[in-house]
Every structure is written in C-alpha cells, then in structure tokens.
Symmetry: C2
C-alpha cells in the first residue's frame, strides 16, 4: 500500500513515505526551538505574537467565518506559567450552520481529487510549521509544557505524526485504480465487457476532539487523515486548552483559502465545562467520523455512542515499569527517573506503576540490590533532578490542571493516613519562569499488588508495587493492561528468557514494550514513521498512529459501470 | 498494498491477487453444477449426501467438539421445495465453554504466522469447493434458491468472494515489515539505535451472522478475513437456514484438524426464533469482532451496540431502476424483468422501485413510449418468463420464508383496496420441482412519489413510481438511498449529460450504478475481485466486499523495541 503510493507530489511527502516503509528515523520539521538555530528575533516574535492574542477576541477580519459568530466566549484558559487567565474570547457559531457550511465546502474539495488534496495538505503542514513559535507559546501557556517540549513534542513531532497520517492516507487513496475494463463470458458464449469506474468518496464531517495536555500531537494526524480523504473537520479543543488548536484552525483556514478552497473545511467548535458539546457532537446526525483523544471515561462513552460512525480513540491506561535485573543500575534509574518526571507524568505514555520484586533487583555482577534500596535510590534520583531548577523546569514543565494538584493532595493524604507507604512527598518546585508557575514534584507511593491501580491517575504519582517475583510482575502488569488499558511498558532485565516471556505477554496485552533502554532518549519517545502508538488491543484506545487502520473508514468507494461501447 | 502481497504461496491466491489489481474477471471455482461438466454421479451424490442428513443429529463422531454438545436442537428449517421440515437437530454447546475453546485455539493459530494461516485458508476454500454439490442442495432446501443459483451464486461466487477477502487480508498482513532498525540522534550528538519488532495480533473471537436467503456469499468473506487475521470464528446462521453454514463449519473444522490446528477455531452457534442469541453474542465481553448480514433493523441495532468492537454490516436498502430513454427498449425490458425476477427478488441487490417519467420513455429513434405502455410491457415480460416453467424455476426459485408470502398478501390487499394501482397480481407458479414448492410470481404496484418506500420490502414486489420527469426520479431515488440505504441503481438513458448527472448523484448517495446494461448478464451480478459490494456510504451497511476497510480492524500490531547490541 505505502510502497505504491505515487512519488513526486512533494519531496517532503516522498521522504515520509520512505521512512514509513523502512520504519526509519525522519523528521520533516525542526525539533529545536533554540535561538542558536533560529535567532533571538524569531523566538521573541513568537512570544510577542502569543502575547498579542491575550485578552482579545480571537478573530481575523479577513475570514468571513469569524464575522458571523453568534457571540464570543472566553475560554477557561489559565496559564500554568503565570497563573493568569489568558482572557481570549473565542467565537461561538451556530452549530447547524457550521455543519451546513462544512457540507457545502466538501463537494469542491472532493472533486479536486486525492492528489490535489494531498498536495494542499502538505502545504498546510508547512504553514503550521511556519507558526511553530507562536503555537509553542500557546501550548506552554495552556498545557503547561516546557518550551523545549512544546516546540519539539507539540511542534515538529506532532507535525511529523500529521505528515505520517497524510502519507498513509495518500497510500490508502491509491490502493485501487479509478477505472478498469472487465470481461466475462456468461452462459458459455456471451461475452460481456463493462467499463467500471470508482470514485473516492468522503464520509462527511469529522469531529476531532483534542486533549488538554498534548492537543496537537493527536490532533494533527486526525485532521490530516480526514482532510486528505475529503472530509471537512470540526476541531473541538478542550475548554482549558483552546488556543493551540484555534491557531491551528486559523492557519489551516487561511492556507485553504490561499489555494482557492473553502476555509469552512476546517472549523473551530468551542464549548465550556458548563455547557459541554462533546455528546452533542458525537451523536449529531451530521457527524460522520469521530476522532477522540482524552479521558478513558469519556472515550468509552464515545466508543459506545458513535453508532455506525467510524470512531478513532486514544484515551489512557496504566503504563508500567518492571525491574528485574540490570547491567548498569545507575543508567536504569536515570532513565526511569527522567521519563517519569518528563512533563510531570502528564503524557499518555508516562509510566505510572513500578514493579520491584520483593527480593530486589539483580545486577549483572551477581549482586542483589534490595527493594528498599531501589526505592530510596529512585527517590534520590528524583530529588537530584529537581535540585537543578533549570533542568527541572525543562523536564517537568508545569501542571496543566488544578485537578492534578488535587489528585496529588488526595493520594498524599491517603498515604499519610497509613493506607500506603509514602516514599516521596510531592511539593512545588521553583520553575525558572517564576513564582506563579503551577508545579509539583512527583509523589511516590508504596503499594502491594492486592491494591491494583486500574486506571490512569493523571498526575505525577508513581505507584511502586512490591511483587513476589518478576513473573508476578509480568502477570499483574499484563492483566491490568489487557483489562483496563495501557500503552507502554518499560522492562529492565538481563535474562533473555524472561525478556522473551515479557514480549509474548505484553504482545497479547497489546502494550508496546521497551526493553533495557537507557541514555538520552526518553523511554516514552514515540517516533513518527516508526513507532506504533496505541495498539487498539486493549481499552486504551483504537487509533494506531499510524497504519492503514487509522485511515480505513475515512473514505469509501462509489462504483459505476456500463457496457463497453455504450458511450 | 495488494500489489505487494507476496506471491508464490498458492497459484489460486496469486491469480486472485492479480485479478484484484486489474479488477478483472476471474473465478477460482467452477460456476456450473451441470451434469454435462461434472457427470451425473457427482450431481446425484450431492443430493444423496444432503438427503442422508435429513432427520438426523448433525454430528461427526470424529469431532470431539460435537461430543460435548449439551443437547441437540431441531432447526426451524422447512424446505421451500418440499414443504417438509428438514428435521436436522443441531448441537447446542455451552456458550462460555465455546468462547474458552476459541480463546485456547487462538494462540497456536496466531503463532503459526500470517503465511501459514493464509496457506491453510486457501486449502479450506478448496475443501469447501469439494462439497459444492452438498452445499448447493443445502442452500436450495433452506434458502429456496434454484439449483443453478445455489451452485454458482452460493458456491463458486461465494468462494470467490471468500478468496477475495483472503487475498486482501494477505495483502494487509504484509503491508509492514516485522522488524526494523532505527537510529536517531538526540541532543545533537547522542546516537540511539533501537531494534524494533512488530507482531500481528488478532482481536479475538469474531461472530459471523449469516442471513437466511444467501448465507454463504457474505459468510465466507467474513470467515476467511477473520481466520487469516488470527481470529477464531463463531458462525451464527439464521434459524431457518442453518444447514449450509453447519456443513461449512464442519468442513472448515476438519480441514483445520487435518493440518494440525485446533478445530475450535471455527464453531457453530445455533439459536432459535424463540431464544435468539444475537444480542447476547454482540454484547458478550468475549466477542471482539461482529460481522452481520441480515435485516436493516437488527443491523442498525448491531451497529449501535457493538461498542468498541469492529463491526462489519451488510443489511438492505431500496434499490431502484430509473427509465429515461433507450436504444433498444425490448432489451431493457428483458434485462429488468430477468433481474427483478431473479430468485424472486430475494437478493440484497434486487431492484425494488422503478421510476417512469409521466411522459414515458424516449427511444433513440425519437418515439416516446408512454408510461402506461411501459408498465404493461413490463407485466407482459414477467408473464412470458413465468409461462416457461423450466425457465421460471431456474430464474425465480422458491420463496425462502412464509413471511414473504404474507408481505405479498398484505401489499396486494392494500392495492386491491385502492391504496395503490395493482398492475400485476402475484400468485404461485408451477416449479418443475413439484407441487409443494413455495413460489410466488412478482407483484407490481403503481405508486406516486409522495408514498415513498423507505425500506426494503423483502418480497418480489415492484413499486412503480410515476415521476414528474427524470430529474425527479434522480432526486427521489438518491435521497431515499442516502437516507434509508440502497446498494444499487439501474439506469437506462441515452443522454450522456443525464448519465453524468446520475453518476454524480448516486456516488454521493453511495449507491453502485449500472447504466444501460442489457443482455445475458444479470444486472445485479456483483463480481468478486472487481465489483465493490456495499459502499459504506449509506445505511445499507458498511462492509465493502472487498477493499482494505473490510480487513482493517481485524488485526493490530504489538510493538517491542530494545537498544541495538543489548541482546
């Protein structure tokens, strides 16, 4: 499918296709936002562009769409960095009118054909990239990501995931010919020849729900997969993180208009916690596709209520670390500390449960490090990381939601009351961005395996299980993953037999396994074009980034046929 | 995708792949069951094999599975040819045990790999073909198809659709490599190389619902798509047409055991009208995939209640014929008569509504044939066909369900009471198979466009609309198709502009359009490897035979990765 995707449409697309085929490393965009690369001015301009939006109505006079807003509504956006409301007021439209506009915009987009649409989509990705600094600032001040993460993870990496989805769409749209001649003999002697034609048809308006902590990374793939297949898109951001997607919508609309298409192909739908539109959108008769990234709870509701609409979900699960044995324990502890602390564990791939056998962890040289010692070394490593406030700021970033602080508080209190062992208390750390940052260092709790954590606790909380032995860890982690959902497991073992067993076990649980990774790469880095993200094999979601199942269902074929010579 | 499906596994599979790529005519099986081709003995043996099953417990001593049946239950099968109960008692198993057995059988099937599974599946198709005469008799005496149709349509054509699905599965399973090396530089200088592996994982037990009138044609594709992707299959036949699928299940189980796999990979689940299992199966936590062919009503329920299970449906809709103009009116009338009468309109692609402009139909020579005249010519053609009882028997076959006779009765009575124009009354015809055949000639009713038929009326009833003009016909037919579902439209017009308009209109309605087809080929013949069956673009179902979306969702990838050199 992907090998046969026609080349030559755009070099960037060609490179993406090549990377997908080889599952090799590639980025079509710049991952670093450093002023050493881009110059001070560009960095400063991004900040100024962001600041210029604060307290204003989010609109662009040139866009007819924004002129017919029914009203403007202030988002529930409070910067985790400044503690201040963004005060941006977003346009609210008449929803039925939005569906009508989307429907009207669809026909010329579809009739333009897959090639033209794909070409335009590549350009739109470049347009988004051109706003990388603005979008990074918007992500920082809504999601709470550090600037490096906002620039790389929510910028280049997200655009790469978008380009990956686009490449798969392009491949999928080219699987079959658009016409063919067919001859068959009936009744032994009557030859019939038909000329057949197939058109690629869209499903209709797709609703793309974006999450609060990482809106672009799953948002872009869904948007581009839908657009390439001919479907108009409604972008529905989380009420506390509207800005990054509002900017993206604006960029996409301008880009579409620039090349003569109706900007209504991409529309923003803003709602609020008090008046949520999620269920209305999922069940609306004009919604043809649902893409959802967010909580497991609402994700399950979406899956149950999408009816016959194709529905692509990424929710959350309980990711685990299993410690069996190690060659270099220091490197292992560094790796799990860094990844656990990364963006304060507010990533869908952040580890949450840590398994340590009662007997401790064996080292290659035959020594055995006790479970107690592992726990205290882990705590020390976290303390070390946080002492360096520049590094802590870059790694931990800020806490997106006050609800996360509440969770930390609740769990810490339960531990203090003796329910669990309190291994490491959480408290704020000093972010270099200032005193108003909403921060929290990780909380570490000691649990026994009889108190399983069966859902993602969206906070920097590590639950450390003392388990009978490594097999117990394997059984426990894979059973919970299969039943309640998980995306990833990080395993450390120097026993090939055990590693093989773990690979088998987590494959059946549908969990991506990373074994013995140490060093500079974050354990949970999921590379576009290479790593599959979300298996679809457990309740953590069904939207794999990216393989053909992420595209299938977004377009279908309409056939017509007539006898040869009839025309 | 399909171009890159590895060749050489089996010549039959290679030919199927080639046909799919070219969308050309191909059959891997013999379409004629004639004794001139096969010899008298083979034909007679098929009948004897069928008769030997009557009144017996359906079991095979060699199969352990059938030894632990909880009880045997007589199917609700009455031969439309003899009017007699088949009296076959089917085994009923403990459902939970069936799921456990399926689950246990899955692991070695999955671990055997895609290549082995596909190879076995090709052999299983050949095994089914070896029972072609027995299965054709079973289809005749449950579905009521004529022998030629039962042999071709429910035999070779169904096997071809199965092979087509298998070829797509094989292609899909080979889209991506199973391992790759990946190198990326982090932090400007740290090179990380990971060895990545991907396993193809099944979803779990698939439930395949088969319909009463054409059980194998949709059943085989679903069964083989599921098996190839690693999923065990429960076959759930309609209570009035169990036998064809029970035989198929038996053949598949024996074939699996012959090559060392657990026969529990394919299991029969029999229920009854009084104690239906459909909803239980769809909502069972162990059901991972649902394939459904049957009524629009239950199909909609299935779509709404499958939750996050991939769900592939083929239900029904309102297929139409639009008459605008013709070069050869006789040929047109023959074509629509033959196709409308075929299997007494009990096919999902049978036409149901006929649009005639008030002003009649224009001929190429400038003459205008009035609507009245068209109607009476259509009635005459049907009468002519039925007069030849050998031909009528072969074309019309029998009526599968007494409910169909009831429908005929109801609509005829409504017409007699003046609600519609009664153009042609239905009555039994003499089938060459004898006096006990359940037969009915088509009923033709005249309606006005304000009384739209919005669902499939599962009976040989033609609803003739007098419409203002051809554009009215187009609007009416495409709007009903989009809203209520339709699979096909048959158009006759000599105006290229109107044809182009119809192509556009029905493409957006998701209806396959056949234009100006006359001659020996049934209008509704849907060729494996070439014609797409069910668009997924309207409520008539979402399971296209066959393209990648029919496979996507039946398997997923499990990833594992570790640093290079770690092993």
């Amino acid at each position: 499918m992907i090998e046969h995707a026609p080349k030559g449409l755009d070099p960037l697309l060609d490179q993406a296709i090549e990377a997908i085929i080889r599952r090799s490393s590639f980025s079509g965009f710049t991952e670093t936002g450093s002023s050493r690369v881009h110059g001070e001015e560009k960095v400063a301009q991004g900040r100024r562009d962001y600041e210029a939006l604060l307290g204003q109505q989010f609109k662009i006079a040139r866009e007819a769409h924004f002129e017919h807003a029914e009203r403007f509504h202030e988002g529930e956006e409070i910067s985790p960095y400044t503690g201040e409301r963004l005060g941006i007021q977003y346009p609210i439209f008449n929803l039925d009118e939005q569906y009508r506009n989307a429907h009207a915009a669809m026909r010329s987009w579809v009739n333009a054909g897959a090639e033209k649409r794909t070409e335009v989509c590549v350009q739109l990705l470049k347009d988004l990239d051109a706003q990388a600094f603005l979008i990074a600032n918007a992500v920082m001040h809504t999601a709470g990501q550090s600037f490096p993460m906002a620039f790389a993870g929510s910028g280049a990496n997200a655009l790469d995931r978008g380009l990956e989805a686009l490449a798969w769409a392009w491949g999928s749209l080219n699987v079959l010919p658009s016409e063919a001649s067919w001859t068959k003999t009936f009744g032994g002697k009557h030859q019939v020849t038909l000329e057949k034609k197939w058109r690629i048809m869209p499903m209709g308006t797709a609703v793309v729900f974006c999450c609060a902590s990482f809106p672009t990374w799953n948002g872009y793939p869904a948007i581009f997969a839908n657009l390439a297949c001919g479907n108009p898109v409604f972008v529905k951001p989380h009420p506390t993180a509207i800005l990054p997607m509002a900017i993206a919508v604006k960029v996409l609309r301008e880009g579409l208009r620039n090349v003569g298409f109706d900007p209504e192909l991409v529309q923003l739908v803003v709602d609020s916690t008090d008046e949520p539109l999620g269920k209305v959108l999922v069940e609306h008769p004009e919604t043809a596709i649902v893409d959802f990234t967010g909580s497991a709870k609402f994700g399950a509701w979406v899956e149950q209520h999408s009816g016959n609409r194709p529905c692509y979900t990424e929710t959350s699960g309980v990711n685990s670390v299993i410690l069996d044995s190690a060659r270099d324990l220091d490197a292992v502890l560094d790796a799990i500390t860094n990844t656990f602390c990364l963006f304060s564990a507010q990533m869908c791939t952040s580890p949450q449960t840590f398994y340590i056998p009662e007997s401790g962890v064996s080292l290659a040289d035959g020594r055995q490090v006790s479970a107690d010692e592992i726990e205290s070394l882990f705590c020390e490593r976290i303390d070390q990381l946080i002492q360096d406030s520049k590094r802590a700021s870059s790694v931990l970033g800020c806490i997106q939601s006050p609800a996360t602080l509440q969770l930390l508080d609740d769990w810490q209190r339960r531990a203090e009351s003796g329910e669990f062992r309190l291994l490491r208390a959480s408290k704020p750390y000093t972010n270099v961005a200032g005193d108003h940052c909403r921060t929290a260092t990780p909380l570490l709790l000691g649990l026994n395996a009889e108190t399983p954590i069966t859902e993602e606790v969206f906070a920097p909380i590590g639950f450390i299980y003392r388990v009978r032995d490594r097999d117990h860890a394997l059984e426990h982690a894979s059973a919970i993953s299969k039943k309640h959902g998980a995306l990833t497991t990080y395993l450390y073992s120097i026993d090939e037999e055990f590693i093989a067993k773990a690979e088998e076990s987590f494959a059946w649980a549908g969990v991506a396994l990373t074994t013995n990774l140490t060093g500079v790469m974050p354990l949970n880095f999921s590379a576009a074009y290479s790593d599959m993200h979300v298996s679809g094999l457990n309740p953590a979601g069904n939207a794999t980034l990216a393989e053909p199942s992420f595209i299938a269902g977004r377009f279908r074929y309409a056939q017509s046929r007539r006898p040869k010579g009839d025309q």
